[in-house]
């Protein structure tokens, strides 16, 4: 049987605290070239504390949600070949307790309204 051990990341303060950003649908690069290294958009917060995300020509309004069940971000440790097969372990790099949820449809930004002649 396979047994995989799961430990928290080492170091003083234990695992870090990360944030989750949940978007409705999926983000794709315009030319299909992949997302690595690309800019997603600008994140603002209103003075009332609600997140606002500007992605391309869209505005997204969201809210901060406290997660009742936290999420652990797991990375597989033990490089292939280093550990015997069937063993291995996961490291909980970080814990996530809060997320920014954008569940409404993105609102388009309209720059120049065509004027009726």
């Amino acid at each position: 049987m396979v047994q995989l051990r799961l430990c928290r990341a080492g170091g003083g303060g234990g695992p870090g605290e990360w944030l989750l950003l949940e978007l409705q649908g999926e983000v794709e690069a315009r030319d299909g070239a992949g997302l690595a290294g690309r800019l997603l958009g600008d994140l603002h917060f209103t003075r009332q504390g609600a997140p606002v995300l500007l992605v391309g020509h869209h505005i997204l309004y969201g809210k901060v949600v406290h997660l009742e069940k936290p999420l652990a971000v797991l990375t597989k440790a033990g490089v292939a070949g280093e550990a015997p097969p069937g063993s291995g372990y996961y490291r909980a790099t970080a814990l996530i307790r809060k997320k920014l949820l954008f569940k409404t449809r993105p609102k388009p930004i309209i720059t120049n309204l065509p004027k009726k002649a």
């Binding site: 430990c7 994140l43 909980a92 970080a94």
Partner: protein
């Protein structure tokens, strides 16, 4: 790098008033491929999160064909992947309003997105899968030192670590089940005693109690070892006292209070295992004669071990050990309803008790897997679907 001017220009086009927003803006970008971590998300129950944070470790166990389970020190959880059509991005250094100051000049924070996913692992507390434990240990029961010498090196034996590697359960749940199975460690390996050998040992002890006229509540360990040592290994005598009694220490000496119910059960099992069915009245007579003097047998001692058939004439009793039934709930009910079409709650309860979880009672299980009706004024349960 994006500048504050570019951010402001975008805000202007979007017709958002910067005065309405907290001054720092965060520019989110995906990290470069070489920095991207190969991550997955695991949703934790609060108690698992606490254990992990305290520095404890969790273990994922399973074979290729199994559903994986996640075990803490004392609990087992089933793991299931949850897909979502939403995109989940994880951001290591994102700041939220309580960390952002309202009275600073506008600024830009460049924030990296470490990765994204559209699924996460969910866990749900489940019953440990312990049936395999008995199966493994029954491959090679311990039959006494003489038999042991005759065995080959290939007879399978399991250490605690071997069992952890074979059983989908937490360490504490395995330890508890080993106790239930009255398993003992012989030279570092967990063994179940062969039932005949176990009865032989128990018989030695009860015989000695009889000849020494000890009360069942106070059996001294030292004299047992001294008297029975020449007959059987000391560790086995000690083990049988532990399995059938409760240890107490009085003025530095160890005593055992024998558990009468366990002795009655074992005796009944011995009588029933050699017969397909037994006439109930005949059985009760032989059973009472077979237990040591001073112990009283009662049918309610046999819950989950034997079943009385009241419909036959004369009434009969037969062996039905809950340990030998399937551990999956649906399969358990199927096998019970194959055995008998209609059950009273009192009869079926001992055979489904162990399927109950924290929130699931016997009543709830019966509602889910059975249908009730009245028969001669008694409520009975039968299968919801035809048994094939």
């Amino acid at each position: 790098m994006r500048s504050r001017e570019e951010v402001d220009a975008t805000l202007h086009i979007a017709k958002l008033d910067p005065a309405e927003l907290l001054p720092p803006a965060q520019c989110l970008s995906f990290c470069s491929p070489e920095d991207a971590a190969d991550c997955c998300l695991l949703q934790l129950e609060p108690e698992l999160c606490a254990e992990l944070e305290a520095g404890g470790s969790l273990v994922i166990r399973g074979d290729k064909e199994d559903h994986a389970v996640l075990c803490s020190k004392d609990r087992t959880y089933e793991m299931k992947i949850a897909d979502t059509s939403n995109m989940l991005l994880f951001i290591p250094t994102c700041e939220i309003p309580d960390e952002l100051c309202a009275d600073k000049p506008p600024s830009v924070i460049h924030t990296q997105i470490a990765g994204f996913s559209n699924n996460f692992w969910e866990v749900r507390r489940c019953r440990p899968k312990l049936k395999k434990l008995k199966k493994l240990l029954m491959e090679n029961p311990y039959e006494g030192p003489d038999e042991e010498k005759r065995k080959t090196l290939t007879s399978p034996k399991y250490t605690t670590d071997d069992l952890l590697d074979q059983i989908q359960a937490s360490e504490e749940e395995i330890t508890h089940q080993l106790e239930v199975l009255k398993a003992c460690q012989v030279e570092g390996y967990w063994r179940i005693l062969d039932f005949d050998y176990e009865m032989k040992l128990l018989n030695h002890v009860t015989q000695l109690i009889y000849t020494e006229s000890w009360p069942f509540s106070k059996v001294p360990l030292s004299i047992c070892l001294q008297e029975l040592g020449p007959l059987e290994p000391m560790e086995m005598i000690d083990h049988i006292l532990r399995s059938y009694g409760r240890q107490s220490i009085n003025e530095g000496e160890t005593f055992f209070e024998m558990n009468e119910e366990k002795i009655c059960r074992a005796t009944a099992q011995m009588l029933l295992q050699n017969a397909v069915k037994f006439s109930l009245s005949e059985f009760q007579e032989v059973w009472q004669q077979s237990v040591p003097d001073g112990i009283t047998t009662r049918l309610d001692q046999l819950k989950g071990l034997a079943l009385v058939d009241q419909s036959s004439r004369p009434e009969t009793i037969f062996l039905l050990n809950v340990e030998d039934l399937p551990e999956d709930s649906q399969e358990r009910f199927n096998s019970l309803f194959t055995l008998r079409e209609k059950w009273t709650e009192a009869d079926i309860a001992p055979y489904i008790q162990d399927l109950c979880s924290e929130k699931q009672t016997i009543g709830a299980l019966l509602t889910k897997y059975a249908r009730s009706s009245m028969q001669n004024g008694v409520k009975v349960y039968n299968s919801r679907r035809p048994i094939t």
